[in-house]
């Protein structure tokens, strides 16, 4: 037996059987090419606000270079309790109901591992962020995808959940505003889903990392609805609204028993989030209205531009209401999402992400991120126009 085959057979089978993210694959292709305009980047193009960067340098100079409390700095948790109350409408005790994590990514993993026993089912909606399915599987859960569709703006409804819920369902995962569709929830649908979660006694994990980034109507968090706070883990972080992806800072808020369980895993595996990033986050919370408003205005203008341009091109696209993604259908061109994206890349040097990276029901769509300059967006639209005006049969 050759060495690598024998190593493969010794891997954990769950890990071995999960494919790499489709995004990663696509990145490997794009990174070998020159002059590509990328609408494939799922992070802000803005620089982290200067006052945040400057105070991080200051924190480094002053020696904030040690382990922090496992929960994270208390002053940061206090500031977060105020922020979450003001913006999302839920009260948390900074002493024991808020945990600072290495991004929403870690928080999501902790929440699932703290909750799931092998075989517990997790309802989540697709198309969705690339990590959800894998993170559920790593936590020995059973992922149960619910498809959202463009005909109602990719919103989730109670009826969709009713069709997939079973006695083994323990957790409902939500992500609005949504990556990759740009969908947000209507108040009525959200209330229905909240009632459903209470009736079925489900724990809700809500990833609200794009919560500040909505363009027509404000975002409502499910934690603010009656009865939900005590069965919900609220996840948020600094990556998107503050353009701080590389700081790797997020947090979880929830009932003390749940946060305590998550903290135990975090304590033994991560110890604490970066001290410098925590200092940066504290500074970021000093004037969020100002920092975020400017970026939101700019995203809104780009969203308007992209929505208008796609409709002129005859691309079938529901209106994105949040995050920084448009998710047009490319079905009428008769190519798979992947072939469409590959040909667009090779023939016109525009990178978009095939919808299938976000779940099988993403087939027929591509994700276009408008977290890039208007110059780039304009050029990309021009190239897409040229691309789709040719016959595209495979």
């Amino acid at each position: 037996m050759n060495a690598s085959a024998s190593l493969l057979s010794r891997l954990n089978t769950t890990v071995r059987d999960i494919p790499r993210s489709g995004i990663r694959d696509f990145f490997d292709i794009v990174s070998t090419m020159k002059d590509v305009i990328s609408l494939g980047i799922g992070e802000p193009d803005f620089d982290t606000p200067w006052h945040v960067r400057e105070s991080t340098v200051f924190a480094l100079e002053r020696g904030a270079t040690h382990y922090t409390s496992n929960f994270g700095y208390l002053d940061l948790r206090r500031a977060l309790a105020r922020y979450v109350r003001n913006v999302f409408g839920a009260e948390y005790n900074p002493e024991n109901e808020i945990l600072i994590t290495v991004g929403v990514s870690e928080a999501l993993d902790l929440a699932l591992r703290a909750l799931l026993n092998p075989g517990d089912e997790v309802l989540y909606h697709e198309p969705c962020y690339v990590s959800y399915r894998a993170t559920i599987l790593f936590a020995a859960g059973v992922p149960v995808a619910v498809e959202t569709k463009p005909n109602n703006g990719f919103r989730l409804t109670r009826a969709m959940l009713e069709a997939k819920v079973t006695p083994r369902t323990k957790v409902l995962m939500l992500n609005f505003p949504n990556n990759p569709t740009g969908a947000i929830m209507s108040g009525a649908d959200l209330a229905d889903i909240a009632a459903f979660a209470c009736e079925r006694d489900l724990i809700v994990i809500t990833d609200e990392i794009y919560g500040e980034l909505t363009y027509d109507a404000p975002h409502t968090s499910i934690v603010s609805l009656p009865g939900l706070r005590d069965r919900t883990v609220f996840l948020h972080g600094f990556s998107k609204a503050w353009a701080m992806t590389g700081f790797r800072l997020g947090y979880a808020c929830g009932p003390a028993e749940l946060i305590e369980a998550m903290m135990k895993i975090h304590q033994y595996t991560m110890l604490c989030a970066s001290s410098l990033s925590q200092k940066a986050a504290l500074e970021a919370l000093a004037r969020p209205e100002i920092d975020i408003a400017e970026m939101v205005n700019e995203y809104r203008r780009r969203r308007n531009y992209v929505a208008g341009a796609f409709s002129d091109l005859g691309l079938d696209c529901h209106r994105p209401l949040g995050a920084f993604y448009a998710f047009p259908s490319v079905r009428r061109f008769g190519l798979s999402s992947r072939d469409f994206a590959l040909r667009l890349l090779h023939e016109e040097r525009v990178a978009v992400v095939p919808g299938t990276a976000f779940g099988p029901c993403g087939e027929g769509f591509v994700r276009c991120a408008y977290a890039t300059s208007l110059e780039n967006i304009k050029e990309a639209v021009k190239r897409i126009q040229r691309f789709i005006s040719k016959p595209l049969t495979s």
Partner: protein, 159 residues
């Protein structure tokens, strides 16, 4: 401030069609509003923002603090407007604090600026004293950093 003006401040060359698309209005509406702003004098002109250090020009810029006596009629405005009319003066502001007017004065050489100060500015009636500082290097103008930030460090595709 009107969103349209904000957009023009960052790029005055943007076409009315693109501006309209970003703002969710019609191109005709954008053009009409721009004409209106120009007529009313809200928009005073359009300029390119240059990194002059890169051009190696024969040019010096001085920042001059000026103390003046306000006139009996017209206060500071009369003297400030008189000074502003000199083509050498590129900007002029009334200030609070230890002096009254702040001028940006441009010339080809140090000597040229010096003679403007001593022969034209200081002798004006109402000018009490001046203090001249020469500019050495420009880091930022009109909100634009002169040294470009490093290019996009983001991965070309990410989740």
């Amino acid at each position: 401030m009107d969103e349209l003006l904000k957009l023009l401040q960052t790029n005055a060359l943007e076409s009315p069609e693109n501006l309209a698309r970003m703002l969710g209005v019609t191109a005709a509406d954008v053009s009409a509003r721009i004409v209106d702003y120009e007529k009313k004098g809200v928009i005073r002109g359009y300029q390119a923002i240059l990194n002059e250090d890169q051009l190696g020009l024969d040019k010096v810029t001085a920042v001059i603090e000026v103390k003046v006596t306000p006139q009996r009629e017209g206060g500071f405005d009369t003297i400030a407007q008189r000074i502003s009319r000199f083509p050498e003066v590129s900007s002029a502001y009334l200030m609070s604090g230890t002096y009254d007017l702040l001028l940006f004065v441009e010339g080809r050489t140090l000597r040229e600026v010096a003679s403007f100060v001593s022969e034209r500015l200081s002798p004006l009636e109402g000018v009490l004293s001046t203090s001249t500082h020469f500019m050495l290097k420009t880091y930022k103008r009109f909100g634009v950093l002169m040294q470009r930030e490093s290019s996009d460090e983001r991965l070309s595709v990410s989740p």
